[in-house]
C-alpha cells in the first residue's frame, strides 16, 4: 500500500515540471553540427574530381556522376530513394567535396524530386 502511494506521488511530482516536448514545426529540436541530413556535393573548383571513392563505399548505389571528355565531373546525383544517410561518402571523400547538411525534412510528393543533381560550371 505504501509503495502504491509512493508511486502515485512520484508521478504527481511531474505535474509541476515543465513539459519536455517541442511543438515541432514551430520549434525545431536541437541539431548537432555533425548531423547527417541531405547530402551535398561541391562540383567544380576545389571540389569533386571524380575519383569514385564515394561510389565504392556507398552501400546502396545512391551515387552517380557524369564526366565530360576531359574527365571533369559535370554533374553529380544523389538518389535519395536509395540513400540511407550513412555518411560514408562524406567521410571517405579524399577531397572533402561531399558534406552532409543539417536538412532533414526531405519529404516530397514525387519520387523524381528525390534525385538530387548537382551541376558544375555555373559556380566556376
Amino acid at each position: 500500500m505504501r509503495a502504491l502511494l509512493v508511486g502515485l506521488l512520484t508521478v504527481l511530482k511531474h505535474l509541476f515540471v515543465r513539459p519536455v516536448t517541442l511543438e515541432y514545426p514551430e520549434k525545431k529540436r536541437f541539431q548537432s553540427d555533425s548531423f547527417r541530413g541531405k547530402p551535398m556535393v561541391n562540383v567544380g573548383v576545389n571540389g569533386c574530381v571524380g575519383c569514385g571513392v564515394c561510389k565504392r563505399v556507398c552501400p546502396s548505389n545512391a551515387v552517380t556522376y557524369e564526366k565530360d571528355e576531359q574527365g571533369k565531373v559535370i554533374s553529380y546525383t544523389f538518389d535519395l530513394n536509395k540513400c540511407i544517410f550513412c555518411g560514408n561518402c562524406a567521410y571517405y571523400c579524399p577531397h572533402g567535396a561531399i558534406k552532409m547538411t543539417k536538412e532533414f525534412e526531405l519529404g516530397t510528393q514525387y519520387k523524381k524530386e528525390l534525385k538530387l543533381t548537382y551541376k558544375g560550371g555555373a559556380d566556376d
Binding site: 538518389d79 530513394n81 536509395k82 519520387k111 523524381k112
Partner: protein
C-alpha cells in the same frame, strides 16, 4: 572434452583448426556431447553453401566449463534434426530450411519462415538466381 569419445561414436572424424568434422551421425555426437560433457547450449547452427554440398556448423557451449565445441558436417539435401535435444534447433533448422532448402529429418515443423510460402528457390544458396525481377529495386520501378 576428449576427441576419442567422439571417435568412438563416429569412426570418420577429424579435426580441422578448432572444429570437429564428422561425416555422419551428427545426432549421436551431439547427444553424447550434451549428456556427458554438459554442452547444454546450442548457440547456433550455421549453414554454408560450398557449391556441391552444404556444410552445417553446430556451435555448442557449456556454461559450467565455459567451453565451446564446433561440430561440422557436410550434407547434400537432407540432414538429421537435433530438435529432440535442443529446442532452439527448431528455429535454426527452420531458418536453414528456408534459406538453403535442407530437409531436416525429424523436424516436422519446417516451413517457409522469411520467404513467402509459395516462394521458389532458396536465397542463400549460391545457385540462386540473384536478379529476380519480382523484388528488383531498379530505376524502372522508381519512375513508375
Amino acid at each position: 572434452m576428449n576427441i576419442e569419445d567422439i571417435k568412438n561414436i563416429v569412426s570418420e572424424c577429424d579435426i580441422e583448426d578448432n572444429k570437429i568434422c564428422v561425416k555422419s551421425r551428427i545426432y549421436d555426437v551431439i547427444k553424447c556431447l550434451k549428456n556427458e560433457y554438459s554442452f547444454k547450449i546450442l548457440k547456433s547452427i550455421t549453414a554454408i553453401d560450398l557449391g556441391d554440398e552444404i556444410e552445417l556448423l553446430y556451435k555448442l557451449f557449456s556454461v559450467e566449463d565455459e567451453e565451446e565445441a564446433l561440430l561440422s558436417i557436410k550434407v547434400k539435401a537432407e540432414a538429421e534434426s537435433v530438435v529432440d535435444l535442443f529446442d532452439s534447433a527448431r528455429a535454426d533448422e527452420n531458418e536453414i530450411y528456408d534459406m538453403f532448402g535442407i530437409q531436416f529429418i525429424g523436424n516436422e515443423d519446417l516451413k517457409r519462415l522469411y520467404m513467402p510460402e509459395n516462394w521458389e528457390g532458396f536465397p542463400l544458396r549460391k545457385d540462386y538466381i540473384q536478379d529476380d525481377t519480382r523484388l528488383a529495386w531498379n530505376d524502372d520501378c522508381n519512375n513508375a
